[in-house]
Symmetry: C2
Subunit: 312 residues, 2 copies
């Protein structure tokens, strides 16, 4: 079986690699930095160059199609980037069309990078024996993707699975059950009380500071691992908050396996107990939920993108 | 094209009908009451008798397969009822196998009745022009089903879409953002703060009483329609609470159309504004959400069940 090639177009770098789709062995890996100010055509050309370089490195027969993960919203028919926080010059252009044109008409399939990361983790990462997986990445924000029955769940227009924006706390209104308004829970998405406002690396630093704890997350985690002090109690609560989001995913998607990634995902050992506690309280399904660390790190996005070339 | 036959096995009655799958015209309709104490074989026999009666009434050629909606959890491979609140005698037996045996080996497909109701509403009800729909039924509890791209969304084991148990309020823990504990929010599912605890007919009666308003829901709705008094303000808040649940569905499923059914669904005109307000605040997708009353009433379940016979 031919090897497969995937790219992950990030805000400052295009990463990519070539993979054996049977064994999961990584045969080549590479990256091209680019300046955010360069025009779209330049990004397309860099991506096409990287693809050629990776194929040469891999020294095997590589499937001609290219899978691309990219942050942002797309039109799945045309490949047009509709919105992207970090890659303004790509908005309004077809990323798949551009890379295809720059690489002599090779077929290019694009997908959101959070989705390709989930697809990668379910293929050869934390979920390699799991047909169903939700990847939750705890970074600056909270992202992720949903795989059910070995397929990405995209919803009608591909905008499904915005895990970071599951509401954990409702915006206070005139309900007799509301907590007081708290400005910390206002979310950058325009909403309030999103999972991202509670368990992203950014949110956890902020919450730690407000409790008089260190906002250096590796240090916070180390202290929690060493004892049962306020750091451990705080991260247990963060785990419970994460569990509230996961519980909603169980209730609605009937999934039972969660991979936790992103920078703050390194603290999953400290979050797991609290999260499972809430999942046990709230769980509606019949299968016990399980939580594991994501294992592919920065390769997850391009590996899942490469998997896209096997479809359609 | 042959007509299709569906049954809806409820706690005290089997309802059913025959439908033209092209026009949606109802060609026959009928029901058989049964006593909850009768053995499973008796229920299977009543269902098979009703199917024959409906075919005779319909006076057209009817597809031999039978679609069955039923409350409870099933094993989709064997048709075995794993759990059911109202039909204890069916638990541990194969409902599809039993009805099939009682009807000379006709193919029988079963599905959860909330799912078949959603499938019915999307076929010939509120969502007949919508490929994607979530049905939310406001009754004793809150139920519903999710249809995406003209297909039921069932999840890996068929237990997906437990809309009534989306968490709106988290169980108070040691989070700095929690509201105080409120026993009203304890849910019969063992969880806390579920949508069902806020917007089911039962919950709205309870909440109305605690505000000194009438707990007679038609009367409460009439008063709200006549003026802008406390009844209207209260139902606006109930609409906001409903909207919080719908917003989570938009965030995770990227759906944009909601049909509201069930007894208290008759007040959807009073809930819509509050619900849309929250959807507008929280919405993460690109399409504006819409809310409409379910239109098939008690026929939705068997109509959706009949639709199952066209598949597989």
């Amino acid at each position: 079986m031919k090897s497969v090639l995937g790219l992950d177009v990030g805000g400052t770098t295009i990463k990519g690699g070539v993979l054996d789709p049977v064994s999961g062995e990584i045969l080549a890996r590479g990256a091209r930095p680019y300046d955010q100010d360069v025009p779209a055509a330049e990004i397309h050309a860099r991506a096409a160059e990287l693809a050629v370089e990776l194929e040469e490195k891999a020294r095997t027969e590589v499937h001609r199609a290219i899978g691309v993960g990219c942050a942002g919203l797309f039109d799945r028919q045309t490949g047009e980037v509709l919105a992207s926080a970090n890659m303004q010059n790509l908005v309004g252009t077809s990323l798949s069309g551009g890379i295809s044109a720059a690489s002599k008409g090779r077929r290019v399939t694009i997908e959101n990078d959070a989705n390709t990361a989930a697809f990668g983790e379910q293929w050869f990462g934390a979920g390699r024996d799991e047909p169903d997986l939700v990847l939750v990445t705890l970074g600056t924000g909270v992202g992720g993707g949903i795989v059910i029955g070995d397929q990405l769940f995209l919803g009608p227009t591909g905008a499904a699975g915005e895990i970071g924006h599951i509401a954990i706390h409702p915006r206070p209104g005139k309900s007799e059950y509301d907590a007081p308004y708290d400005a910390d829970l206002e979310c950058s998405c325009g909403s309030y009380g999103c999972l991202e406002r509670l368990v992203s690396a950014t949110a956890v630093s902020r919450r730690a500071r407000s409790r008089g704890l260190t906002d250096d997350l590796p240090e916070l985690a180390d202290r929690a691992r060493r004892g049962s002090g306020p750091e451990a109690a705080f991260l247990h609560q963060v785990g419970r908050d994460l569990g509230a989001g996961l519980a909603t995913l169980v209730t609605l998607f009937d999934v039972d396996f969660f991979a936790i990634g992103g920078g703050f995902g390194a603290a999953v050992d400290l979050l797991e107990k609290g999260a499972l506690e809430v999942l046990e309280e709230r769980r509606y399904g019949t299968r016990p939920a399980r939580i594991a660390p994501a294992t592919l790190g920065p390769d997850a996005g391009w590996i899942g993108a490469a998997r896209l070339t096997l479809e359609g």
